[in-house]
Structure formats: C-alpha cells, structure tokens
Symmetry: C2
Subunit: 221 residues, 2 copies
C-alpha cells in the first residue's frame, strides 16, 4: 500500500478504537455485561442465543444486536422470544464495527439491562479484528466445520474468551476430532474456556449458562 | 469515508481489476479453464477438490492454488494426490485478490494445464467481491449451515455460476430445507447451476464432474 493509504487505514482504525472505548464506557456506566458473539455462517449463533434467552430472560433483562449483511430474519427470531432486538444491516461489510454498534444503541434503551449480546456477521476472519466495546468475545465452532479450523483461522481463537463447540449431536456422522480442536486451541490461547454443546438437543448448554451467569453476577458487583 | 479514503479505495480496486484482466489474458492464452472456488469455512472446498482431482487427473493436467490465512495443510493435502499445488498465505486477509494470484503463478507452470482451481479463503462474504481473472465462480454451501444463508449472504449466490449443496448425507440429522435454498437462490440468480452432492459418500459428484468436463472441453475448442 502507498503511504497515503496506510495513513487512511490507520486513521479509520484509530477512529473505530475511539468509538469502541466510548461504547465500553457506556456499557460500564449502565452495568451491562456485553458479549460479541462470532462464528462462521451457520455455526449456531442464533440457536445459541435462542437457548440462552429462553433460560435467562426471566432472571435478567437481555438486549440483542443482530448483525447481518442484509435481511431482518435474525432480529425477528429473537423478538419472538420476548426480548428487545435491533437489526444492523451492514449492506455488504463482512463484520460489525464500533460505529455500527453506536448507531444501533440509539434505537434501544439499556436501562435496567444486565446482558447485551451482539451477534456479529457470520465470518471466521474479520469480526475478530474489530473491537466493538464488548467485555468478552465468545466464538462458536461447529463440529461440521472440521478440526483443522483453529490452525487455519487462528486469530478468532486467540482473541476469544470462550469457545463453544456446537452440534456435538452430529459427531457420529462427521469426521471431527474434538480433542484435537481443544488441544490446538489451548496452544493458541491457554486461558480460553471451552464448552461442548448441542443447541439442538440442549446437551452441554448448562455449563455455558453457568459461566454466563457468573460473568453477569461478577460484573454487577 | 473521507474523499481521500474513497479515492484510495477506488485506486486499489482499479489496480486489482487491471491485474485480474492480465491474469485472465494469461489463462486464455494458455488455454487454461479457471475456477474460483468459494464457501464458508468447512463447507467442503478441499474435499470437493480431492474428489474432483481423483476423478479427472488422468484426463487433464490440473493445477491448484490454495488460499488460506495461514498454514500449508491444504496444499499438502492436494499435493498428496499428485497434482501441482501452490499455497498462498494471506497473512490475515479474508479473501484472495488478483495480485496474490499473479504472485502464485510465478511459482508454477501452466504449460499443458487444462484446469486451474483456486481455492479461496473460507468466507461467504468478501471473496465474492474480488475478481481474480477466473472464468467461473463456483460456491459450496453445506446443508449444516442452514437454509437461510442465501437471503443473508446474497452476493456470492448472485455472482456464482455454480452452487454445490454439499453434505447431503447429513440431511436426516439437520434442519435444512434444500428446496427452499434452491428456490431462493434461483430468485437471486436464475442462471445458476445447482448440484446436490456428498463429498463424503460421492453421491451427486458425477453431475458436477460432467459440468466441469463440458466446460473444459468447450474452452479448449
């Protein structure tokens, strides 16, 4: 890249980081614990959200920001569960950025909210590079994607606090070595929490919910 | 974006389009039919390549360019099948561009080559926006990704000449309406060819190979 384009890119990133810090200050001031939920398309972000909301909505006020290139389908799925959801359509962009989150926050109140979940665009690459102001990054990998993904897409595994290995109900029918995934991921990121779940059957969801409730409780104190 | 950044982005895209045209002219002059193979991570690009190479390598000279953020695993998988493969590591970038292809072509001879397959980075978004100089874009969607993906990620479905719906052996175990996928995709792109396959069992692969052999033969004439 030329010097001019390097400068432009740096300016854009710095502006985004500044907005991410403003978002974070807002979340902290409101006492809202915020998760940035990321994965490949179809790994189960919305299904995990549905399970999580069903289990926790009577105990916490939850708000969801749905990021998609286009369509309103996911926000509609979430609103049907009785929680507030705002849809961001990126209009082509392959990830959310802090500025989009700031705009979405104008459409929903965080008063009394304990948990804000941002569902990023389905993409195992770029979302990991953009800070939104969240407290924790949580990623999902489906066993149908194969056990070579941590080595091929390491950044998201390195930046996430939690890896949810989803669709374990399909393990009898696919070639995927979950132990290999866990071994490679822990080499990339020794602190990461790993939960093995099936959003379809509900298996393993309780451990994820336990972690999440602990985070919300610690954050409130 | 500022005027300066718009200009910079436009200049980068124009430079890329120019290199794509140079790549295309090289492919045409060598009589090489070139496919840009795209999908989400883990949808089955490398598995389709393995099936395709095994079936066609005794009839055509095939070369593969493997695009990954990092790791050499896919090029090694392909070289084991006895064809030339060049690995591109994008070092973070979520898609291949024409410039990367031009560099990769310095590492392999296209003399006598009939078919060049470029396996793009696993990403259902950005790869569709970058012309590499290819003749046809071919995309894979796995049934495990769900039937809502064409509506949520329309650009790749609009730009591809072929959609391969993979992992149909898993249909008894997942919630995915293949007829809905086909209906929505044909609304987005009436000309698209759709093949339903299982790279695991081999079901449906023959129709894909038939299409590919016809393309190579038409191109040589």
């Amino acid at each position: 890249m030329s010097d001019v384009s390097v400068t432009v890119v740096r300016n854009i990133l710095e502006a985004q980081e500044k907005i991410a810090r403003i978002n974070r200050a807002l979340f902290d001031s409101k006492g809202v614990f915020v998760i940035n939920l990321m994965s490949s398309p179809g790994a189960g972000k919305t299904s995990l959200l549905e399970r999580t909301i069903a289990a926790l909505k009577d105990h916490f006020r939850i708000v969801v920001i749905e990021g998609d290139i286009q369509s309103q389908e996911d926000a509609l799925r979430i609103k049907r569960l009785g929680v507030d959801a705002v849809q961001i359509n990126t209009g082509g962009a392959c990830h959310l950025d802090a500025n989009m989150i700031q705009s979405a926050l104008e459409q929903v109140s965080l008063d009394g909210c304990n948990l804000l979940i941002v569902e990023n665009v389905g993409n195992l690459v770029c979302p990991a590079e953009f800070e939104l102001g969240e407290h924790k990054k949580v990623m999902i990998l489906s066993v149908t994607e194969g056990d070579d993904k941590p080595l091929k897409y390491p950044l998201m595994f390195q930046k996430s606090s939690v890896l949810i290995i989803n669709k374990i109900d399909l393990l009898p029918y696919v070639t995927c070595d979950v132990d290999k995934i866990k071994r490679v991921v822990r080499e990339l990121n020794p602190q990461i929490e790993i939960f093995e779940v099936s959003c379809k059957t509900g298996e393993g969801i309780d451990q994820w919910l336990e972690w999440l409730k602990n985070q919300i409780s610690s954050f409130k104190q």
